[in-house]
């Protein structure tokens, strides 16, 4: 249905962002928390809008922006992730001296870019959204201006990100040249009518994959991830590990859903993705073994998770992909929340050594962090297990047994480094006394909500699965 309503989530977020940017001028630095409340309330409204629009299928701009169930689902979880990140940041930014007004404005702006990305199937519009996301992200990564690491992160992210963008534009041009359109569906249909894919189109598709591969951080386009994750303020790292990744996979879903149906010349692209996926799982997990910095461990773990998600793309199972992303949101943000919890004024505890004895000193942080780590490692009865389970089942059904074996062995490797964090928390005597700022209600709210999400999705995910099935079924309507 053609309606102006299709723009409302986007407009709400952009409006909130601009409002925050203006109000910021009038607020003193200690009172910046009001901006957080303001942003949160707008995000809540946006979430409600998403729920209200379910099954409505609004679209606008000649169908270039639309809200089918899939976009709504993605917008909802992305808004949720951003809300979590804002809750995590409230105390953090004043403790770590990054409480600039731009913080929330940039976060919302990045979110608006993602919203554009997930609610379009025109590659040009997607490119627009991607740029909005990327430019805000570069700024966010470098927000701790007094910290060299943060600036390094911003520059690295910017340089490599620009490369990726250039790849996308180049690929887009080639695709446009070979098919005469930038709309994914049209492109794939044109390809479908030809007997074999021209080299130009193949290169174009490959370049698009490379560019999104950068966004979702798969091997070998992952080099930026650990440095950027380490340098950026921790809540922003949580944001990077979830939001761009989810958006990137939403796009891949939209590209490959019609593509597999056409399945022309799929050998080349299929094996490309197969190799990337296997490499990502193995390299991500192997390198994580050697890390001692929590943020870097989580960075490599998020790379590895992108590998599992690619398995879902190869298995052509959309609902398991979306389910995995949902679970991943809760467990990863939860893990970062626990990392953020262990900080005090001007100091973050990020080395493994710092975690010695934490489990018994701060039992709630210890328990929740352990549960998130078990979930990331894929132990039942957490959501992480079920998510991996659905993906691997789908893959075996598609006959991808070797890839699944690589996947489970890679996740065996991951068990080691996730458990190592728990070893430090519970089984090592502390070498130093660590003190943390305990009073952080918003952070504990996030911990609790993520815990709830991980366990609910692990034990009784049926309602969510029904929603997800509705969401992905809107793919086939296009």
């Amino acid at each position: 249905m053609n309606s102006f309503f299709a723009l409302s989530p986007l407009l709400i977020i952009v409006f909130a962002s601009l409002l925050v940017l203006i109000l910021e001028v009038f607020l003193r630095r200690e009172n910046k928390n009001y901006l957080a409340y303001l942003s949160l309330s707008f995000l809540v409204i946006c979430g409600f809008v998403c729920i209200k629009f379910w099954n409505k299928d609004y679209s606008y701009f000649d169908g270039n922006l639309f809200l089918d169930n899939l976009s709504l689902f993605f917008i909802f979880i992305l808004v949720l992730a951003t809300a979590f990140v804002i809750l995590l940041s409230m105390k953090y930014i004043s403790l770590q001296d990054t409480n600039y007004g731009e913080f929330y404005a940039l976060l919302l702006l990045a979110l608006s870019g993602v919203v554009i990305m997930v609610s379009s199937i025109d590659l040009l519009v997607i490119f627009l959204g991607l740029e909005v996301l990327s430019i805000s992200s570069y700024a966010l990564a470098g927000l701790r201006i007094k910290d060299e690491k943060s600036s390094e992160a911003a520059i690295k992210y910017f340089l490599l990100g620009s490369f990726a963008t250039a790849f996308l534009v180049y690929g887009l041009a080639l695709l446009y040249g070979s098919s005469g359109s930038t709309n994914i569906i049209t492109i794939i249909n044109v390809f479908g009518s030809e007997t074999s894919l021209s080299l130009m189109a193949l290169i174009g598709l490959g370049l698009v994959i490379v560019s999104f591969g950068f966004k979702i951080a798969v091997v070998p386009f992952h080099m930026w991830t650990p440095d950027v994750y380490q340098g950026a303020p921790t809540p922003i790292t949580a944001f990077f590990s979830v939001v761009p990744k989810a958006a990137g996979f939403a796009i891949l879903l939209r590209i490959f859903f019609p593509y597999w149906k056409v399945a022309l010349n799929s050998q080349a692209i299929f094996w490309l993705l197969w190799i990337i996926s296997a490499l990502t799982m193995v390299v991500g997990n192997l390198v994580a073994l050697r890390q001692t910095n929590l943020k870097r461990i989580l960075a490599y773990s998020s790379i590895a998770h992108a590998g599992y998600l690619l398995v879902a793309i190869l298995a052509q199972d959309n609902s398991s992909l979306v389910f995995y992303l949902t679970v991943y949101l809760f467990m990863n943000i939860g893990a970062f929340a626990a990392v953020i919890a262990l900080s005090k004024k001007g100091k973050e505890y990020l080395e493994l050594e710092d975690y010695a004895g934490v489990g018994f000193k701060y039992p709630w942080i210890g328990i929740t962090f352990s549960i998130f780590l078990f979930s990331l490692a894929g132990f039942p009865p957490t959501g992480g297990f079920l998510a991996k389970f659905y993906i691997f089942v789908a893959a075996v059904r598609q006959g991808l047994v070797p890839l699944v074996i690589i996947g489970v062995l890679a996740s065996l490797i991951s068990v080691f480094y996730y458990l190592r964090i728990i070893v430090y928390m519970y089984m090592r005597e502390p070498s130093q006394e660590i003190e943390i700022a305990v009073e952080n209600p918003s952070l504990f709210l996030v911990l609790f909500l993520c815990l709830y999400g991980v366990i609910q999705l692990g034990l009784f995910p049926r309602n969510i699965l029904i929603l997800i099935n509705q969401a992905v079924s809107s793919l086939s309507l296009l």
Binding site: P380, L419, M427
Partner: protein
């Protein structure tokens, strides 16, 4: 039966664990009594299970089935004559484990008890699951409490031991998971229905070439757990580092999970592959018997001696299972329970010694029986039960095993008998070095004889040892029909095997027509 007694038994410990969370850390005695109470109530309920169990029915009883996640993932539990005794063994040993760690565990009592109770739920869950997904969930979830129990309350090299334990187990179980996926998709291809139900899978007739791979994946997982010979290296580490109660559970119940896995999954699901790998598996078991026994002989640490004796004894159990006949199978199951009791008791004995001396080295002891006469009697009985003295539990199990193995293969039986000889060697020698002779170490003069609490948890075990040794009928008759059924399932396939062979391209077939034929046969007979 409408009352969900099996769920109650499974989740009561977990409920107890949740209750413990809300009790203050300092009130350690309340915590201990509460967890002991939970474990005891669970045991009493499981006795109801024993008495209302109908021995005539080979199929699972007390079945509960609730749809859980869809796509064939159901909450489906039940027990038959094989799992009944393993559940009973678990519930019987848990209160004993808690009692044995009453004073032994002084730090972080609350967390310790919570994990012990969680572990109980996990173990019982494994034995009652009839849905492969549910089974796998329990199988993996059980690792988490075990990981903490060894890692936090263990000895000096606990972190190494616990990580080794978890990674070894996961290596096997993840490959098993892939095999389960494969079965799942095969079943879907054959019937168009999603199912993780074990009994649906029993109906599958798989192409032998596929069976080989699936069997290897399952067998690896279980072989690590048992542990079969080349996969046993985690066991001595885990045992030596774990606290006493955890060693008891590990030896008595966790190792049985592997054997149970063979009985429940690997043998009936992949009979053709079993036939193919039978010689290899039997030889590995035999190597385990001899190697475990020889290693036990040279151990300096009493606890690792008992650990290696487990390797040897589990080898015998596996050899009996692979004999694939009625006597051996019953003997194996009987021996599983009896090994649980006697090895569990030996770990308790070593634990009692350790609590007094803070050493486990055999050379530090000598002449202890003069200071601890009552303890000495208990030690003697437990040791003899492990050796297999007639009149005690070990004898019945071993003799049944050997009957069966002898029937299957004489050479294996003759070589396998070395387990008894070796056991007599290393256990009697250990007893002699620890309990008898002059007192060399001055510390021993200060040893007090075992107290009421310790007698309290050793007496039930000793009673069971005598009972199982003198009057095994109530145990054996309850498992008869299930064992017969299982053997039918394994052997029956050979008859249909030829039919599948004719059509080599067919990867999978469902048993449909065959069950029909069988029913007709039955009808014919009844006429």
């Amino acid at each position: 039966m409408n009352f969900p007694i099996l769920s109650l038994i499974t989740f009561l410990p977990l409920a107890g664990a949740i209750l413990l969370i809300f009790i203050q850390r300092g009130r350690e005695n309340i915590l201990r009594f509460l967890s002991l109470g939970t474990a005891l109530i669970t045991f009493i309920f499981s006795l109801i299970l024993y008495f209302s169990f109908n021995a005539q029915i080979p199929d699972p009883q007390f079945v509960e089935k609730v749809e859980w996640l869809g796509y064939g993932i159901n909450y489906h539990i039940g027990i038959d004559g094989i799992s009944l005794f393993l559940v009973l063994l678990t519930t019987f040993l848990m209160p004993i484990a808690i009692l044995s760690s009453w004073t032994h565990i002084q730090k972080r009592v609350k967390e310790y008890l919570i994990f012990i109770l969680m572990l109980e739920t996990g173990i019982i869950g494994i034995f009652v699951s009839l849905n492969l997904f549910l089974f796998y969930v329990f199988w993996e979830a059980m690792l988490i409490p075990m990981y903490f129990l060894i890692g936090v309350w263990g000895g000096r090299r606990r972190i190494y031991a616990t990580l080794k334990f978890v990674l070894f187990t996961m290596l096997g179980s993840l490959l098993m998971l892939v095999a389960i996926f494969f079965l799942y998709s095969m079943y879907y291809k054959a019937t168009g229905v999603y199912s993780f139900n074990l009994f649906d899978y029993y109906k599958l007739i798989l192409n032998p070439n596929i069976q080989i791979w699936l069997f290897l994946a399952f067998a690896l997982s279980f072989a690590i757990k048992i542990p079969l010979f080349p996969f046993h290296t985690w066991l001595p580490d885990a045992h030596v580092e774990a606290p006493t109660a955890v060693s008891v559970i590990l030896a008595a119940v966790l190792l049985k999970m592997g054997a149970y896995g063979f009985l429940r999954f690997a043998l009936p699901l992949f009979p053709d592959a079993v036939m193919k790998f039978l010689p290899l598996l039997a030889v590995l078991s035999l190597i385990g018997i001899i190697y475990g026994g020889l290693m036990a002989l040279i151990q300096k640490d009493a606890k690792s001696l008992v650990a290696y004796s487990s390797v040897s004894h589990m080898g015998l159990i596996m050899l009996a299972i692979f004999a694939l006949n009625f006597e051996a199978m019953e003997g194996a199951i009987y021996q599983m329970i009896s090994h649980g009791l006697s090895t569990g008791a030996l770990f308790l004995i070593v634990g009692i010694l350790y609590e007094r001396s803070h050493t486990r080295m055999i050379k530090d002891f000598g002449g202890v029986s003069k200071q601890m006469p009552v303890f000495s009697a208990f030690f003697l009985i437990c040791m003899l039960s492990s050796v297999g003295l007639p009149g005690l539990n070990g004898f019945i199990g071993e003799i049944l095993c050997f009957f069966g193995i002898f029937k299957a293969n004489k050479l294996l039986a003759i070589l396998g008998i070395s387990t008894v000889i070796l056991a007599a060697g290393y256990l009697l020698w250990m007893f002699q070095r620890i309990m008898q002779g002059p007192i060399k170490n001055e510390k021993i003069f200060s040893f007090k004889d075992i107290n009421k609490r310790e007698i309290c948890y050793l007496v039930p075990i000793v009673i069971m040892m005598f009972w199982m040794g003198i009057y095994p009928k109530p145990f054996l008759r309850k498992m008869d029909s299930s064992v017969t059924h299982l053997l039918n399932r394994v052997n029956k396939r050979e008859i249909y095997f030829t039919e599948v062979q004719k059509d080599k391209n067919l990867p999978v077939k469902i048993e449909h027509e065959m069950t029909k034929e069988k029913n007709e046969e039955k009808e014919d007979k009844s006429r």
